[in-house]
Symmetry: C2
Subunit: 339 residues, 2 copies
């Protein structure tokens, strides 16, 4: 049973996309799950009314699993991260996260300002003991199975110790949310050999080899689309947030480019869209900010109702799998081993 708070005001297409996403998620989730729509009550009520008497009338049966939590302020995309914490303490983002901090909610999802969500999540949920920084984990679709890549943008300059922490966070996430057993962790570098890479990567390689993680060694850029090396499948790929963010944005832009290129070459457009559908980010349910005590899921600013539905389902999975407790236990165990 999960109570999931959704920032109803966050994202380029809010509140239409957020409210519709909530209804779609409830129609697919176990009936024990509920959603808290956080934001301006009147706006949310009106949007619900409009959808339930219109295109989503068939989902009216799920209305009673939705509650509305009033939050008068909205963080804009252009606001500084600090706005979420100090500037607008009654924003939908701050109110939604505070519900979780107070034990009244189990997870938070937003398609709003990412920097603000990170800052507010760190302040209101706080980090697990033993962590320096949280990391954003994203799914990369591959030929084999989706892989978890982190950090995807929360940290631009990382120490080897932080990258090892990210590996641990990512492995627990892959286990809890993707159901991978003993997830295989790869370190992104520019050659298979341990001595290949920049200074941070080489030191991280040594630390990962000494860790209790299922470390398969370095992976290269070419192993990402295939989902592993010639020798190993991979579940989790670790890199700093600069490289991860560049790669993520590059990958997101490639499918549209390929579709345009092939359509210009005369390939049928509908066939292309269908064939490359699994490369669409909206299939993959948002990116968790791992390391905070709780569940905070970052959805794309351009999230469609479908993308938000998938983010809400990922939040439910994170809650019911007990991911947060498991992260706490794994970090504590690693700290004890090191001590």
């Amino acid at each position: 049973m999960a109570r999931i708070a959704l920032d109803a005001m966050g994202g380029d297409f809010a509140p239409q996309a957020t409210v519709a996403g909530a209804l779609l998620a409830l129609s697919e989730l176990d009936p024990a799950h509920s959603i808290q729509l956080v934001g301006r009550s009147a706006v949310i009520e009106a949007q619900l009314q409009s959808l339930l008497t219109g295109e989503l009338a068939a989902l009216a049966v799920h209305r009673d699993r939705i509650s509305i939590e009033e939050a008068p302020d909205v963080i804009e995309m252009s606001d500084k991260p600090s706005a979420a914490v100090r500037g607008k303490p009654n924003s939908s983002m701050a109110v939604g996260l505070r519900l979780q901090a107070e034990g009244k909610s189990d997870a938070f999802v937003s398609a709003g300002n990412t920097g603000a969500q990170m800052a507010a999540s760190m302040v209101l949920l706080r980090l697990h003991a033993g962590l320096n920084r949280p990391a954003i984990a994203t799914f990369f679709p591959t030929l084999r199975h989706p892989i978890v890549v982190l950090d995807s943008g929360a940290n631009v300059d990382c120490s080897p110790e932080e990258l090892v922490q990210f590996a641990r966070l990512g492995a627990t996430y892959a286990e809890c949310v993707l159901g991978r057993t003993n997830p295989a962790v790869g370190l992104l570098s520019i050659g298979e050999e341990p001595e290949k890479g920049n200074a941070v990567t080489k030191e991280t390689h040594q630390l990962l080899q000494q860790s209790d993680l299922n470390f398969i060694g370095n992976v290269e850029g070419r192993d990402l689309p295939t989902g592993g090396t010639d020798h190993h499948d991979v579940d989790v790929v670790v890199c700093d947030g600069f490289v991860g963010n560049v790669l993520l944005k590059f990958y997101e832009a490639i499918a549209p480019m390929m579709i345009e290129t092939l359509r210009n070459a005369g390939v049928d457009g509908a066939q292309l869209e269908a064939g490359l559908k699994h490369l669409d980010y909206s299939e993959h349910g948002g990116a968790p900010l791992l390391g905070v005590k709780g569940v905070s899921i970052i959805a794309h600013g351009k999230s469609s109702p479908r993308a938000l539905k998938n983010a809400l389902k990922a939040a439910a999975q994170a809650v019911t799998s007990g991911m947060n407790d498991m992260i706490g236990q794994r970090l504590a165990a690693a700290t004890e081993t090191a001590a």
Copy 2:
């Protein structure tokens, strides 16, 4: 007029691919250009004989623009970079580069051991004054036009000053080999704003802004497949060799992944291959090691005759455009301005 030395023994498919590539290049190049095949004379002779009495018999007319330069040793792919310089002074790589150092050749192309080619090029050709390190420049195909990305793997940890040097090298290359006027230079980062990025990127942004280069600001991962931002086309993208190498290998692996995905989805294979042909690295003629005094072009280890043909044509273009002299002048001018 260019005399281009080709490492006849270098690459996974040498000497068949190298000798065939030379013949194909001569059939397309201006008759004033010639090629020096460097390696084991007997092996090269036999290969020439076989091709010219077989599948490439139609190209026999170009035989007299080929000379053979004896080099008894071969650098293996598994050899350390130092092998090229100290271990095997009579390798095809060392002999080919020495021809250029002695004024007997104008350019060198190899599909052999990249680390060895870099080391030997730096020792035998030496760097232009004012440079710390050379950089490998590669073409990235985009929706608009190919862009130059550097560094693609020669330097894993770079200072802001080195990245500015790479920008200058890349701009001169784009001007000479791609014919771009006043090439637009972008800095790869994780946001458009100057304050976005890691520590090195932020400092590099400031230095580029103060430079005489046509700096258009930061570009993001999503701008690479499209060939520019919403506001500007880009000709040259600067990044360190860790990020550049990860991206290059990622990009090279994506077209095959897409083709397999779409073929599985029922799209016609031949149509796909034709549509994505311009994403094939073999269309784009090798990657120059920029910064050395001369022309040293690194071809992919898996180079086909067609890929080597394009690398040889790029070498001819680098020579006839006077790229090497222009790089020297630009670097000297920048040093004077700074002094």
